[in-house]
């Protein structure tokens, strides 16, 4: 295996391939920055152009675009509160408050390093675990997903904010937005008001950009006269020792959450990044800082997102199983080159596969080298006076929404959601639960109904796998923990009195 990998490096380290990797990374970053144009679309649009390049070179470039796109999305997430990709939605939660406090450069740096670490660990896992992952991926089914998503919903309670009622109201808004579209089982239309444009539901990125960026821009505009516009401070450009101390554990925890999710069908990056966020919040010693710019909340999800990309590539290379849209497009690309992706790929196209894997390592390193020095430069963007800055954000968000399908309806939708965001701020509803509900709601519904379909409507079908039972036990333990802890303390106190002090 190691010699294969070394051969891969030998192929990938030629001048031509290095250039293609660099080009891919650059293009990917640029594309990731624009909301609306995701890496999937970028690869699809570039497909016909790359015919003149041989297969290995083309895939090295595609991999660069994928990783670059995942990273580029977080830059705008942090600086402008405008996530470019679904994977970067969670990054905005802590990243943007950090930027507002003048710590944008640090947020970008910890994101860049987190991305590097997550991708590196993920790619090493790809090399080491590829055959095992293949087994794991096909054995995870709908009941297991339902269990994991229930766990995620329990975790939502920790982001509800101070007022539970407002938190749940926000959650309900998100779940309602998530209901829009076709019923996944019967094909009936829900909340579409007869418009074909709503039949596919509303894209998570549009909701996130609407609630986060447009909502906030409108809110700031509504209040600009009353609050004196003091410019956002720009602090020191580099990570200090404290930042690193708080970031390294989340960096390493990211791949543990992200990699398995990326490898299983319908896993993607949204749910693991959210789970990483709540995990970091729970484990952090400075819980009070969360929501106001805690660096752990950027480091963890970024590393997770990057590792999930590696997981996705693992499933694609070992099984021919596309678990995300990008992988599906890359699979189509394989076919264009007359290569059948699937379980025999490693044997038949050994040289290509290993060169691709080697180029992942190279691409990640290039990304880090590119983005780390750029972080302070990007952060200076926030020096722009607020009226211009927010005008820029609105412009940017609109271009992104329009770019998805060049359709005016998307712009109207973005504005309507922005107005909802403004109202939510006006009445003190937290925005985060709504976003999480838009991400989780439709997938939990889909998987729950699928699981029940598979079991013929028998509720036992939800607990018929070991994995799901384990997850339900974990959920029970989390829910009952306060109760158990109280009981333990109650019984323990009379005996060991000194312990209480």
């Amino acid at each position: 295996m190691l010699s294969n990998l070394l051969d891969g490096f030998a192929t990938a380290l030629t001048v031509e391939h290095l250039l293609l990797a660099a080009l891919g990374v650059l293009l990917g970053t640029a594309i990731g920055v624009l909301p609306g144009i995701g890496p999937a679309m970028a690869v699809a649009l570039l497909l016909p152009i790359t015919y003149s390049i041989e297969a290995t070179g083309a895939f090295i470039m595609f991999a660069g675009i994928y990783y670059g796109g995942m990273f580029g999305g977080s830059t705008t997430s942090i600086l402008l509160n405008t996530p470019g990709e679904t994977a970067a939605v969670v990054t905005a939660i802590e990243g943007h408050p950090m930027a507002k406090k003048g710590r944008g450069a640090q947020a970008l740096a910890t994101a860049a390093i987190g991305h590097f670490v997550g991708g590196m660990v993920g790619t090493i896992l790809l090399v080491a675990l590829a055959p095992l992952v293949a087994d794991f991926a096909v054995n995870i089914g709908a009941p297991d997903f339902v269990a994991v998503m229930l766990l995620a919903f329990i975790a939502v309670t920790s982001v509800l904010g101070k007022s539970r009622v407002r938190g749940f109201a926000s959650l309900a808004i998100g779940l309602t937005i998530g209901l829009i579209g076709l019923d996944p089982v019967t094909g009936q239309q829900r909340l579409t008001f007869g418009s074909l444009h709503l039949v596919d539901g509303i894209d998570v990125v549009v909701v996130a950009v609407g609630l986060f960026a447009v909502g906030e821009a409108l809110w700031v505009a509504a209040n600009l006269r009353r609050t004196a516009g003091k410019p956002i401070p720009v602090g020191r450009p580099w990570l200090n020792r404290d930042d690193v101390r708080r970031s390294w554990k989340p960096w390493l925890r990211g791949p543990v959450i992200g990699f398995p999710f990326g490898a299983v069908p319908a896993g993607g990056a949204e749910i693991p990044t959210f789970l990483s966020y709540v995990t970091e919040k729970r484990l952090s010693r400075r819980k009070d800082e969360f929501g106001k710019g805690a660096i752990e909340g950027v480091a963890g999800p970024e590393s997770t997102a990057s590792a999930s990309a590696a997981g996705t590539l693992t499933a694609m290379l070992t099984l021919g199983l596309p678990t995300t849209a990008v992988a599906a497009v890359m699979l189509a690309a394989f076919q264009q080159y007359g290569i059948q992706p699937g379980p025999l790929l490693f044997e038949r196209e050994s040289e290509l596969v290993w060169a691709l894997i080697a180029s992942l390592f190279i691409g990640l390193t290039l990304l880090l080298l590119l983005n780390l020095p750029l972080a302070p430069l990007w952060a200076r963007l926030l020096r722009i006076p607020r009226p211009y800055l927010y005008a820029g954000i609105l412009f940017f968000a609109s271009v992104g929404a329009y770019a998805v399908s060049s359709d005016v309806v998307d712009l109207v939708m973005l504005l309507v959601i922005g107005l909802i965001g403004l109202m939510m701020r006006r009445f003190g509803l937290p925005v985060l639960p709504a976003i999480i509900a838009v991400i989780l709601g439709p997938s939990v519904e889909n998987q729950l109904r699928r699981a029940l379909q598979l079991s013929g409507g028998d509720l036992g079908g939800l607990v018929n796998t070991t994995f799901s039972v384990v997850v339900y036990c974990v959920i029970a333990a989390i829910l009952l923990w306060p109760l158990i802890a109280r009981l333990v303390r109650k019984f323990a106190r009379p005996k060991v009195d000194s312990h209480a002090g």
Partner: protein, 328 residues
């Protein structure tokens, strides 16, 4: 703002250079079409998208057209794009790639625009569906499977890589009908494409799956999947499985893709478009593209294709109204 501007303009330059490199192959001459646009009613990377982009590339490489622009207008299973096409009445420089999936979506989404409103240009390719199980499955042949299915339709979960009204759903329902299973009783689980479905079949979550033959070639070769039957009226080369007809079912189904134009275009525009597509089909570049993508040629033009569309429309409507998915 300055930094962002620079990065973006650099990206724009790179993209522009790449585009130039891609288009540089053809030299201008003769009566070639220019300024043509092909709309893809699906997102990039999907079946209609690859068909459209391949066709555009072949048109340019074989010197039949200049500057063919492909753009995506996804939504509602292709009916958002269809609505736009029907709205562009008389536009002789617009085409839309489409297929059986759009026929079904018109019914399931209750689209006001239908394919009957469009000007049919050509059917290009087709692909049969297969009925497959995992290598570990207890079903060794199609007869065993059909016997069990008839006995307990609700107990056997059927997976397909398309939503209701999509090709895999239609194939499963037509098979059920042919086998004497009431379509309404079929427990159809829809997956997001053949890949998502593949994992469920390999993990033995489903009794069997229905999908396009080209999606799983490698898994079939590797022995992970067993094909029990193909839905076309002839056997498929390289796949050791009978047709449904051989199994005694009066069922014949193929998924297909083609090209339509807006309604009300002039006769000369229509002739020019059909003629160009005919010449594209005859080019060696198209033959190569068919081979690379594993597509089966199913060329049919003009009125012939129109009659075929009408017939497909009626067949799909019957199946879907049986299921209560069509309003009529």
């Amino acid at each position: 703002m300055k930094v962002r501007g620079k990065v973006r303009s650099a990206a724009a330059v790179i993209v522009a250079l790449l585009l130039l490199a891609g288009c540089g192959a053809n030299a201008g001459s003769g009566d070639k079409l220019s300024g043509m646009r092909i709309m893809v009613p699906n997102s990039p990377g999907g079946g209609y998208d690859i068909t459209a982009r391949t066709a555009a590339k072949v048109l340019e490489e074989s010197g039949l057209a200049r500057n063919v622009e492909v753009f995506n207008l996804p939504g509602a299973g292709g009916t958002v794009g269809l609505g736009r096409l029907v709205g562009e009445k008389g536009n002789g420089k617009l085409l839309m790639s489409m297929g059986l999936g759009v026929v079904g979506s018109v019914f399931t989404n209750k689209s006001p625009a239908t394919l009957q409103d469009t000007t049919p240009i050509a059917k290009l390719i087709e692909e049969p569906d297969i009925i497959a199980v995992s290598a570990k499955s207890k079903y060794k042949n199609i007869e065993q499977l059909l016997a069990d299915w008839k006995a307990d339709p609700a107990g056997l979960a059927v997976g397909g890589g398309s939503s209701r009204g999509g090709p895999d759903h239609l194939a499963a329902m037509l098979t059920a009908k042919g086998a004497g299973v009431q379509p309404k009783k079929v427990n159809f689980v829809s997956y997001d494409g053949g890949g998502d479905l593949l994992a469920a079949i390999l993990g033995d979550k489903l009794a069997f799956g229905v999908s396009g033959v080209s999606e799983w070639r490698d898994q079939i070769d590797a022995g992970q999947l067993r094909v029990l039957a193909v839905t076309s009226d002839q056997r498929v080369e390289g796949i050791d499985a009978p047709t449904l007809k051989e199994a005694g079912l009066d069922v014949q189904f193929t998924n297909w893709r083609g090209i339509v134009a807006p309604p009300g275009i002039s006769d000369s525009d229509r002739k020019k478009l059909i003629d160009t597509v005919q010449r594209m089909h005859d080019s060696k570049e198209w033959k190569q593209a068919l081979e690379n993508n594993g597509w089966t040629d199913a060329f049919q033009i003009g009125e012939q294709f129109g009659a075929f569309l009408k017939e497909q429309n009626e067949q799909v409507e019957t199946v879907l109204s049986d299921l209560g998915l069509s309003s009529s």
